[in-house]
């Protein structure tokens, strides 16, 4: 994570600068009055976009940013975090999929798609970490796999259409 840089602006207040990973830079100027200015500059662009917020507006915005109002479900965040950190992906087995009822061993998923199944999350809330090869796949299972993007695409096709 890039550091937030703090700069003193005598007579005005302080500035906090956050470089954005996808490019550009976000800066928050905190005035002595408590008012805040938000600056955003796109990479390569000349003049930044700036918004002035009163103290209370800034606080409400901060609450939104920290997830105080609404936050996506934990499982979605877990997936997003997994995908980013370890190359872990999840594939959901819909009901009526041709793979339902068959064993992992029989499906030969590793050879066909390049995906390794490291866990299965069942509909009833139970989870099977490191499932044995003879574990059957059930409807609405969430398969947690280690794979690259190509492998995941193959697995999704396979699970949905049995290709």
């Amino acid at each position: 994570m890039p550091e937030i840089l703090e700069t003193e602006l005598p007579g005005i207040g302080r500035r906090f600068t956050l470089p954005i990973e996808t490019g550009g830079e976000l800066a928050v100027v905190v005035h002595k009055s408590g008012d805040k200015d938000l600056y955003f500059r796109e990479p390569g662009a000349g003049d930044p976009v700036a918004v002035s917020l009163s103290d209370s507006e800034a606080r409400r915005l901060a609450a939104v940013l920290t997830g105080g109002f609404w936050q996506p479900s934990p499982i979605d965040m877990f997936r997003a975090a997994l995908a980013k950190k370890a190359g872990l992906e999840t594939v959901t087995v819909v009901g009526g999929s041709p793979v339902v009822g068959r064993r992992i061993l029989d499906l030969d998923i590793r050879r066909r798609t390049g995906c390794s199944i490291v866990a299965i999350l069942r509909e009833d809330g139970s989870s099977l970490p490191n499932p044995a090869p003879d574990t059957p796949v059930e409807a609405n299972d969430i398969l947690v796999v280690i794979a690259d993007a190509e492998g995941v695409a193959k697995l999704e096709d396979f699970v949905h259409a049995g290709l």
């Binding site: 602006l9 007579g11 005005i12 005035h31 200015d37 600056y39 500059r41």
Partner: protein
């Protein structure tokens, strides 16, 4: 003396009205106070005095509370100001602050001389002109949205105003001492001595005593006890300063500075800000009341000259120095235009100057010959520059383009070469990859030079004769040191950014050091002639510098050539030049290949 509640009520009512109107119009309240003050002063002569027999301007109560206002104001300036901030100001800010302050002080002197003012009066005029207003600059920067890191000059110019604040305190001490002794070396020395005691004791308090004292005071839970202690600190420091023959605001400024960045800062601000707001309003209205309307036509030419001097010094000279330090022309003019504002500092300065008295035939008379004229001058300056500065700042880019068009090419080139070198050693690019680290010898020399400069300027007689050669010798030593340092730095500087070939590395070092030497000698010259017959010599000095500049331009053209002339002399095709510019990698054996940073 009975407390004059009636006058005070009129003044606070006027301040209230002024503040309401000013905030409705989106102007700073200070301007509102000034304007109602002027109106009230006029009303005083026309109505209150003849009709009601009340003298608002002469009321000791109003005057006392106005003084209290400046005492609190400077205490708060001190609270916002710490040794750490001064240290963090960085080299570009510090250099720009010294240049800005010095140039304006000198201009104030020239303007004063042109209008036949004596040296002491001119010095106060210089003090009024010198201090850029942090408030005006900050307000406009916020409105123009120039606070992000895409505008690195913003930090630099705000930092330089912090340094200027400190310089103005020092100058105030000296000028008050000078007035007290009418220019005798002994009186100046006594005042310097007094100031040294004040500065020293407050610094010692800030560094050694403060943590312990702050912890003790922090334990006070009772708010009444706390307020009484805080007030005692403010008043005692002011009294102490007066005891040592220095202005009282010096004491409150330094006690504020001692408490800056302790855990008490916020509590002090919270508890005392009501006092400040109330009495500062009284002070500004009182100041406005002292602006005699009938004096305004007489002061107008001087005021116009002062405004022109400020604009030339800030927009042209300060911007030019910013270019020499390596700022691009946009950033440089942004610095210059932001420094145009004059406000509370100019007002405080003129108020203190015109309040100085000396005994004459048993009564106290104003010590300055033009004491009454300082009021309309500072007030007018504040009103005009407050209106002009935001305008200039908004159009700083256009001004930059215009200036670039009118600057001779050789000068522009020289500026860019010097800027490229200083940019990477002390300027804006130094923070990421400094090509030269701080040279202790150079720092010591510059420190000694600056320390001797003011005594030289203000002393007369044998002391002056002894100091002068010393200062010139120091400038020569600085020149030698800069030349050595620049010779080390030049090979590491990436001149490719400038888009022209550099033929002569040693020449660049010579040139850069020469520019520094010219500037130093000019400063020496002014300092030496300052207290002597400086009318004519000042003009002679300017001519000398202009001549030296021309000489340096010749030198410049020998080092590098602008692309158009290079085409003819080096027989490079335009396409070849373009290719070189694009690749930014020179293999020409004669040209200078930058080492990779």
């Amino acid at each position: 003396m009975a407390f004059d509640f009636f006058s005070l009520a009129v003044v606070t009512l006027a301040a209230f009205l002024g503040a309401v109107v000013a905030s409705k119009l989106g102007q700073s309240v200070i301007l509102g106070y000034l304007v109602v003050g002027i109106a009230l002063g006029e009303a005083n002569w026309r109505f209150f005095m003849p009709q009601a027999g009340v003298d608002l301007v002469g009321s000791p109560t109003v005057k006392a509370l106005a003084d209290l206002g400046i005492a609190f104001l400077l205490f708060f300036v001190g609270l916002e100001f710490s040794v750490r901030k001064l240290k963090n100001a960085g080299k570009p800010s510090t250099i720009l602050a010294f240049v800005d302050y010095g140039v304006l002080l000198f201009s104030g002197f020239l303007v004063g001389a042109a209008f036949g003012w004596g040296p002491v009066e001119s010095l106060f005029l210089g003090g009024i002109l010198a201090m850029s207003s942090l408030g005006i600059a900050a307000k406009s920067l916020i409105e123009l949205k120039r606070l992000d890191s895409a505008h690195p000059e913003t930090e630099v110019l705000l930092g330089s105003m912090v340094v200027e604040n400190f310089l103005s305190m020092i100058l105030l001490t000296i000028s008050v001492g000078w007035v007290a002794g009418r220019g005798t070396t002994l009186a100046v020395l006594q005042s310097v001595q007094g100031a040294a005691v004040i500065y020293g004791s407050f610094l010692a308090l800030a560094v050694f005593g403060m943590p312990k004292l702050a912890r003790l005071i922090e334990r006070i839970k009772n708010e009444e006890v706390f307020i009484l202690l805080a007030l005692t600190l403010v008043f005692a420091s002011a009294g102490l300063a007066v005891l040592f023959g220095t202005p009282f605001i010096l004491g409150t400024f330094f006690i504020g500075m001692a408490f800056a960045e302790t855990r008490l800062t916020e509590r002090l601000q919270l508890k005392l800000s009501t006092f400040r707001d109330a009495f500062v309003a009284v002070f500004f209205v009182y100041f406005g009341m002292n602006i005699a309307v009938d004096l305004i036509p007489g002061v107008a030419p001087l005021l116009a000259a002062a405004v022109v001097a400020v604009l030339i010094d800030e927009v042209l000279i300060l911007s030019a120095f910013a270019v020499l330090l390596g700022f691009g022309r946009r950033a440089a003019t942004a610095i210059g235009t932001a420094a145009c504002g004059r406000s509370e500092d100019a007002i405080i300065y003129s108020s203190l100057g015109s309040n100085l008295t000396r005994p004459e035939g048993g009564v106290q008379v104003p010590a300055l010959a033009h004491a009454r004229e300082l009021f309309p001058l500072a007030g007018g300056l504040a009103l005009i520059t407050s209106a002009l500065t935001p305008l200039l700042m908004r159009h700083s880019e256009g001004i930059a383009l215009g200036l670039a068009r009118f600057t001779p090419r050789a000068l522009r080139f020289g500026g860019r070469v010097v800027g490229a070198i200083f940019s990477e050693s002390i300027g804006p690019r130094a923070r990421s990859h400094p090509v030269a680290h701080g040279d202790p010898v150079l720092l010591a020399l510059v420190g000694a030079y600056l320390a001797l400069l003011l005594p030289l300027a203000f002393s007369i007689g044998p002391g002056h004769t002894v100091l002068a050669p010393f200062v010139v010798l120091l400038s020569l030593l600085i020149w030698r040191e800069v030349r050595i340092d620049v010779e080390d730095a030049v090979p590491k500087v990436d001149f490719a950014r400038l888009r022209f070939l550099v033929h002569d590395v040693a020449g660049i070092a010579r040139y850069t050091a020469f520019v520094v030497l010219v500037l130093l000698l000019f400063v020496d010259f002014v300092a030496i002639e300052f207290s002597a017959s400086w009318h004519l010599t000042a003009v002679a000095g300017l001519v000398t510098v202009a001549a030296l500049w021309l000489a340096s331009i010749r030198m410049m053209s020998a080092i590098t050539r602008p692309p158009a002339r290079m085409l003819a002399s080096d027989l490079l095709s335009r396409a070849e030049l373009e290719r070189r510019r694009r690749t930014r990698h020179r293999r020409d054996p004669r040209s200078f290949a930058p080492k990779n940073l």
